[in-house]
Symmetry: D2
Subunit: 406 residues, 4 copies
């Protein structure tokens, strides 16, 4: 373990990663560089500086990555209407590639030969951090303390703190919750505690970002979202940066009880786990994106997107953002978004995010053809006969030859 000289740690400023700083210094006898990012988790990141300094860290990186996070990760993912296993909007998954990229970039800047993180050996996040790290810097050494050390219980961790004079008020307040939580601009997640029983209903006071539908206003909120090439660029006519869009939608969604989710999901490491998620803005965004696509995408490209989406979601969930297959899928997805521009009008009310209107200069909706009224010859109904007859030909031949039909 003597061969690590300097390690860059994804540092939250909380108790666990503070222990890791000390443990890395001791165990590897190496220098630790901390990296703390604001990706919209809703807590100050600046306090991490003093904590890191108190632990003897000399190179401290504290960064606001909110805009980059939404622009280069969240938005591209939403262009595919990405959902994992029919339900999950990938709020945790999509934040990891950016963290991994910055860890490696900082390692390159500071001459570090290793990176480290505070994810456990049971979850998906270790995979996402490490696959990203290896893909971007193949010779990097990865240190995953939770897979190595013996501080496997809260008691041992506390004893370690006492022994090493790590102030326990480093403890992130969130961690006092009975749940394991993770947050960024796209979502907040809850695992553990009573949730480990899939039959148990989540308690109301667990949720932090949204009111319950019951507690939401009696009056609906209407909002108009303007898309350009698949991304939202304005809300109610006001142009915004990507992260401002998501912040605004989180506020609107949270206020109206939108975006709560309670699921059992399949982790990449092979087990099922139960998680609850709040994704207020993302839930609105997904609905709206489908609506603008319904007007502006060709049928066949839309269907092909739907067929590719589960694979794309799996690639991201499993941690392969930095991979050739993700780039390949992204190329296909982005090719379709050139014309995905226009406005979607939504009604937000007590948990419901409902599309009530959509319009676009790129619209492929042709009222003159679709109409139930006289279409003045825009569509020749007689064409349908040949269309059906030739589409039926293979079935008719098979039936005529006595092949099973039902």
């Amino acid at each position: 373990m003597s061969d690590v000289k300097k390690v860059v740690l994804a540092y939250s400023g909380g108790l666990d990663t503070s222990v890791i700083v000390k443990w890395l210094q001791e165990t590897y006898n190496c220098e630790v560089v901390t990296f703390t990012a604001d990706i919209g988790q809703g807590e100050e990141v600046e306090p991490a500086r003093a904590k890191a300094q108190a632990l003897g860290v000399k190179e401290i990186y504290i960064e606001d990555l909110r805009e980059e996070f939404v622009r280069d990760y969240v938005f591209p993912m939403f262009r595919a209407n990405t959902i994992y296993e029919g339900e999950y909007l990938l709020g945790t998954s999509i934040a990891r590639p950016l963290i991994a990229k910055r860890l490696i970039e900082i390692a390159n800047e500071t001459g570090a030969d290793a990176i480290s993180h505070g994810a456990t050996g049971k979850g998906n996040d270790q995979v996402r951090f490490e696959l990203g790290g290896y893909a971007l810097k193949p010779g990097v050494k990865v240190i995953a303390p939770w897979r190595e050390w013996d501080l496997t219980s809260r008691e041992k961790l506390m004893a370690y703190c006492e022994e090493h004079s790590i102030p326990v008020d480093f403890s992130n307040k969130k961690k006092k919750s009975p749940y394991s939580m993770d947050a960024n601009l796209l979502h907040i997640s809850y695992e553990g505690g009573i949730l480990e029983d899939p039959w148990a209903e989540a308690e109301e006071d667990m949720w932090r970002w949204s009111v319950s539908p019951e507690a939401a206003p009696e009056q609906p909120t209407y909002v108009e979202l303007t898309f350009e090439k698949g991304d939202i660029v304005a809300i109610d006519g006001e142009t915004m940066k990507p992260h401002e869009v998501l912040e605004k939608l989180n506020k609107l969604g949270g206020d109206n009880g939108i975006g709560r989710l309670d699921i059992v999901e399949n982790r990449y490491v092979g087990m099922k786990s139960r998680g609850c998620y709040e994704t207020p803005g993302g839930t609105i965004m997904l609905r709206a994106h489908r609506a603008i696509e319904s007007l502006t995408l060709d049928r066949e490209e839309a269907h092909l997107k739907d067929q590719l989406m589960p694979k794309y979601a799996e690639v991201i969930y499993n941690g392969y953002w930095w991979s050739p297959e993700r780039r390949m899928l992204q190329a296909a997805i982005d090719e379709t978004q050139k014309s995905v521009s226009g406005v979607v009008r939504m009604k937000l009310y007590k948990g419901n995010a409902t599309v009530v209107g959509r319009k676009s200069e790129q619209s492929l909706f042709d009222e003159s053809i679709a109409t139930f009224e006289d279409d003045a010859g825009a569509y020749n109904q007689k064409d349908a006969e040949g269309f059906i007859k030739l589409n039926a030909l293979r079935l008719r031949i098979a039936a005529g030859k006595g092949r099973q039909q039902s």
Copy 2:
């Protein structure tokens, strides 16, 4: 046109299909057999008998197909979590194969050489009826009056009625609505009228099966759904037949403002159209089915199902229920449902159908492994290192050889 001897007509008892009876008799100088089915559209079918008799029809089929419809069509489709274009639950599409099958069976019983229906030349339903007809009886003659006659306006239709003494009170009351509507146990649909402008919000008084979320009760309703092999067999512990399940869920959903949908969809005949749908029971069922699968399906079969689903939905939407590709996909889907049994607990509240618990004797959720607490060695965290390293190997090799990484 003299070569048709007898034609079986899908007869609703409404004005349009009554006109068709007369028009077929006149135009083809042939006998007409009427077939009227109760598939849960919410209207009496027995009155169709007198109307058909008044039109001189001698062979009149009136049938209650509700159980068969849900058991053999709706339930198999829901096993795949089927959604067309991310939103539509295929309520109209799934009813057509059964109608087509009965038309052909009745043609065989009555010695008819043709079938007929009242669908227009612009829509999907003509395709679904006729593909089914051709697949099941390849030599059948199909007569689609709306593609042939010149009664292309309401005025001409009325003139025809007057001329042929067809009482206009045959007119289905629904048809007085400004919308083109279709209903069965799974859903009711609305098209036309102001909906032809995709920007226009649907009017509240259009909806017939559900109260608005605003008007729904202030108290949530909890319900427990029991699945066996992918199908719901009991509600709150009470065993029910398939159509009783759907009727009950429609009531529960409709009362709680659940299942309204407003979309622009791509028709098989090549145009976009705007439709509104109410699918109260189906919306609950889909959510619940995914929840029981989340506990009982293996990850890889679940993901494969998700990848196949858009194709399966397309096959049904386009009218290919009676096709080898549908049977092939169904075989794969049904293979996965053997263990999809258990109970899902849902909360229904003002438009929201939320899963709050799921349990199953077939559960693959392993609490001893998933736990955040000490797992007593059920899972060896050190395994994750090798797992990640080998999964990263191809990426590391590529990066080591200078290949693009981001």
Copy 3:
């Protein structure tokens, strides 16, 4: 039929399309523009000029499109290793989009309002010509004489010629063959005649581009093909233009008895048909392209390409080159080809095109890791245990809970 003013005809100079010139002039009383292209069919195109003039055509387009054909259509298609139904290299399909595009461009240049072609109403080519035409000029009028006229037998056609003084030596010599044939730089096809019996073996004298394996030289020919970004740019070190590459490979393949194919295929219009094809150069190219990809593509992008390929082949076979779904798939495919560069060495011998070596500066083959000898720690075999254990976890949990395993 009086509303067509000018029509651009895909004119081969043969008897059938010469009859069409006259028939169009007579039937539509319109001006005819002829378009004849050299796409490598192996016949002079210049003689078409005099023939067209003799028929009174004033605007005559004769063009050499060989380079464009291979560069913009054949090569992009081969980047996907495209095969239809496991066997067919799409030689006819890939030539149609270019013809359709030029027909429309010439229509725009000459102010024509219609296009016409000599394909029958039973085949795929009518679909490909017309889908292309409609996609590129939505208001164009398409005239398909074989679907309209009554010259449905050879006798009627001959009578028409006599009546209209069309010299029968316009008859293309190929057409004296008992087969319906089509040729371009990628392939020559044969249909009809004794081939209509799928059990009958094709006669040796049918084949025109290749010797039989029996008649091929006793000595193998070795050839080295240099790829850049997925396309062949040099043969045995000599840089060539795309069409020169294909011409050279056709010669090499044909001389060595390579590229004959005898299949039953499924047409888009719904029937099965039997066809024989000679694709000497394409057969070599496909094998070589897979070989260079085997060295330079990442595993996951290679697998994803393989999964998308059948759809891409279907899109091209069915005539949707000019479609959003083709562009979307092409974007994904082309994204993967950036590093597909290097050299493949092949042995050509009596029908066999065998890869015997491949090398690339972009190679992802890592001899130090792959070796059966001591790898000096490049690969840690112990990693495999964790890799396997976590990949097995879902299976172990299922088996532990008594789930069916075999």
Copy 4:
């Protein structure tokens, strides 16, 4: 290491696995059960008995699994036209699930708590053995000596033999080859040696099962293969058991220089490797199966099979035969094979396996419709116009609205 009581070893009788017997006895102080199977590798299995006895083994299983191997593994796989990465017929992959199953069954019979195999830590076979083992007996202990011991060079192995009095003539003669080889009824494979350079051509004397095309007879061999439900049941009219079919085809193929393959493939563990394979019978079988399907499968099920095949191949290659996803895919594939019956006539000549005829009572080829001659109205060419127009509608609308077309 004391907790293993009895281990079942996949024992070839060769030097390596003989060393493993001794090493297991010593290292784990446990009883070893040997299992040796004839799966058509072309060597006597009975001699393994004496060798095992000499090593002190008391429970010795020697079995002829050839019929089961072909019937339950090879044939089902060929129903899908399975090819990995466009070239590889999965000869090694498909034998592993059967070995794994028997290892586990024997473990259950003998009360063993562990299984062991002689595969290295770099390859796919360890994964296939172990995934199978874990899936069928989740609590089984797996011992992979090559990942554990330090006998990592030939010298150390020989020293171990000398030290433990293992006669070196246990050495399998094949192993004196410079290649790492594996054989069963489906194929023989070669890796290592000069093949580790992908540019180096394989030497002629490496190949063992086939003559070179050059050395094959000057006269072609014709053969007729009879299929029932997707499997070959007779050759030239003679009914045979599955393994007899494959033995006969191997002979025919090998004699005619058919089935050699030289590729670079992507292993599941993340590296590329170069392998040469001889699959004489399989190569003929694949071609023939596609031919009989071309006549008897519906177009859409055939295309869907082609789209699913790469995934199915990946599942088998990666070792997931005993998995829910394989069963799911198999259900879909088998559903399509009910009508895949008939006869294929093939010509075998100097490396070429060419289909020259196919016939079937289940044929969907309709000569009366496909004919170039007068079809007496079986097909109405005018239907094609409507077919094309509606298929073009979405493209026309898009073009009419100025959307990009090329």
